[in-house]
Amino acid sequence: MKLYRDLTIRQKQIAWAWAFLAIPVLFYGVIRFYPTGNAILISFQDWNLLGARTWTGLDNYQKLFADPVFWKVFRNTFVYLLLGTPVSLVISFVVAYHLDKTRFLHGFLRMLYFLPFMTSAVAMAWVWRWFYQPVPIGLFNNFLASLGIPQINFLNSTTNALPAILAPAVWAGLGFQIIIFMAGLRAIPKSYYEAARIDGVSTWTVLWEITLPLLKPTIVFIVVFSSIGFLRIFDHVYNMTTQNPGGPLNSTKPLVLMIYQTAFNSFDMGYAAAQTVVLFLVLLVVSLLQLRILRDR
């Protein structure tokens, strides 16, 4: 007690600050940093979850870089990112831009766009999976067949399956992005638009010169947010391809699904941890790059 009494006010403040910070620090230490460190450690080991862990050095990483499935999966992950992010960005901006100008049923329409975001990804994935089935149960193919157009193999195809799975994932994320875009649009001061109207500037110029530049922070936020989302895509893929996860022929398998299968189907924890470390590095690099772009402003 005496020790505490001898402290200056400033030191006491610091002591109290740390006393309150201790809980989140402990929480992060135990829940975040300890498992992260442990995962990095396991990536240098061989462990089947049951037996002892044995040290194998860089074996897991060598196996990883020599594994053609890994590179295929790595490519898929970036296809999800490079296809999903721009497509969802453009669609959500177009919707938000026009929704912002609409007064008629504005709240109702906004709710309709937001609804998929609140729906369980698993339920949505299964409904879309049935939409994509061949005749006689698939909605899309039944429609095509009734028009006399040949069926399309949506999921049982190495080329169509990935976009087919990406579509509902993009759709599900739209609602959130639209809301963020609309908030961004509302935040742009009306005076700029008034000045532009007085100068007689065209709508396109207003869009290019005022709206988009001033939306940059919003756009960066959405890009970072949705990039991380697409890099970690899992539930849509897993639920739409459950019997053959990530199939056919690994054409839809993202990195997270490969990690899951290695860890909890093959029980090869070391190899799964090595994949996790690679995913961590990818996410880190992508996020740092995007933060750099943000700083340029």
Partner: protein, 419 residues
């Protein structure tokens, strides 16, 4: 007045707690774990009831988990001293559990190896090391051909007994719409379901091959027989007149349940799920034989084992429980409730069971069944799935795809056994 009543209540609850504690002290409680499957849980509840009636000083507490988490939870719990005393495992996992010292061998005085060798189906001997058994099943499973009676009648065909009859019956039951799209399949197909077992232990052997050598450590299906088996299988959906389609109605069993598939190969565990489908009239027959009349089947089983956690009086209680769940009585209950076949011929091959219209084909199938020793069942199944996909989606020849699958599976087996 109020205080008095309160005091009485407190006294009453204190005595009842004491009484409860007293009865617990006398009884041994052991824990039993299995994965969740409705019929299995019901059957085990009946078994526990019967066991507790015969052993009033032992109580058994059953815990079950969804199948997806089962293996992880068991693996995490036993080393922590939290898990079960008696645990249910898939036969293919046994090696891992023995190596990790999670289970202990069954005592030779209650489970003498020579008696078990004699009484159980021979495939159970995979659980034996030296003259001790590590684990024993209550029930075993095999495959058979389910058929839709209404569709058979409509097409005027009989349940097939040979592979040729299978193909012609399937062709008769296949329906197409005007554009040639299949709207009803004669036979379901999909390596993701049970077909990979049928292909490995059924078709490859019936074409004159031996799918694996060296106690399932060496892949041996990249042969003439393997190629014939693969061609027979893929011909069902890639031939000139396909009788089925991969992914038809999403899943093979879904198509059969919906009455849109004439025939469907599945395990005995499907019986329970099909029994309650309204409007579906189905029958079962043995897997079709080849032209020489040879049949071959696949069987698998789940075993019960005593974990290293069980010690002292819990160990004794666990041994008694193991003895009960592998008794003839338990096997009959398991057959009646779950539909899985008794692990002893003496129970399974009774006149009544072997001639049962539903269980009979499965039980007769056990006589010529083989049990694949998997290193990584889902991994090995995936290779079969991809073998077919390479042919169907990428146009690879059967021979090349077969060779690629054999090479990949050998690599997987080598990695597992050299560990």
């Amino acid at each position: 007045m109020k205080i008095k009543r309160l005091r009485a209540l407190a006294l009453a609850s204190a005595t009842s707690v004491a009484a409860l504690a007293g009865s617990v002290a006398n009884a041994v409680e052991i824990e039993y774990w299995q994965y969740f499957f409705d019929a299995r849980v019901t059957a085990m509840e009946q078994l526990i009831e019967g066991f507790e009636a015969a052993n009033p000083d032992i109580t058994v507490k059953m815990t079950h988990f969804p199948y997806a988490d089962y293996r992880t939870k068991v693996a995490a719990a036993i080393p922590a001293g939290e898990g079960p005393d008696v645990v249910q495992l898939f036969y293919g996992w046994l090696n891992d559990y023995v190596e990790a010292e999670l289970i202990q061998p069954l005592p030779a005085d209650v489970f003498p190896a020579d008696r078990i060798d004699e009484e159980f189906f021979p495939m159970v001997q995979a659980m034996k090391e030296g003259d001790q058994y590590w684990a024993l099943p209550t029930a075993v499973r095999s495959l058979a051909l389910f058929y839709n009676e209404r569709l058979m009648e409509e097409a005027g065909v009989a349940p097939p007994t040979t592979l040729d009859e299978l193909m012609s019956a399937a062709a008769a039951m296949t329906k197409r719409d005007g554009a040639g799209n299949i709207t009803q399949v004669g036979m379901t197909a999909g390596m993701t379901a049970q077909d990979h077992h049928w292909w490995r232990e059924g078709l490859v052997r019936q074409m004159g091959g031996e799918p694996y050598l060296d106690d399932y450590k060496t892949v041996n299906y990249n042969t003439e027989a393997g190629l014939k088996a693969l061609e027979f299988y893929t011909n069902m959906f890639m031939g000139d007149e396909p009788v089925t389609a991969i992914g038809f109605m999403d899943e093979p069993q879904a198509a059969f349940k919906a009455g849109r598939a004439g025939m469907h190969i599945d395990g005995s565990f499907r019986i329970g799920a099909l029994a309650d489908i309204r409007g579906l009239k189905w029958g079962v027959t043995e897997l079709p034989a080849n032209a020489e009349g040879e049949r071959s089947n696949y069987s698998s089983y789940w075993v019960n084992a005593i974990t290293t956690k069980a010690e002292g009086e819990k160990y004794d209680a666990a041994v008694k429980f193991m003895d009960y769940v592998t008794s003839d009585e338990a096997m009959q209950i398991w057959l009646d409730v779950v539909g899985e076949l008794p692990a002893k011929p003496s129970v399974g091959m009774t006149e009544k069971n072997a001639n049962d219209p539903v269980f009979g084909p499965f039980i007769r199938g056990l006589e010529y069944a083989h049990t694949t020793k998997f290193a990584d069942e889902s991994g090995q199944r995936q290779l079969m799935v991809e073998m077919v996909e390479r042919m169907q989606l990428q146009g690879m020849s059967a021979a090349d795809s077969l060779a690629q699958a054999a090479e990949a599976e050998q690599k997987l087996l080598d990695a597992y056994y050299t560990k």
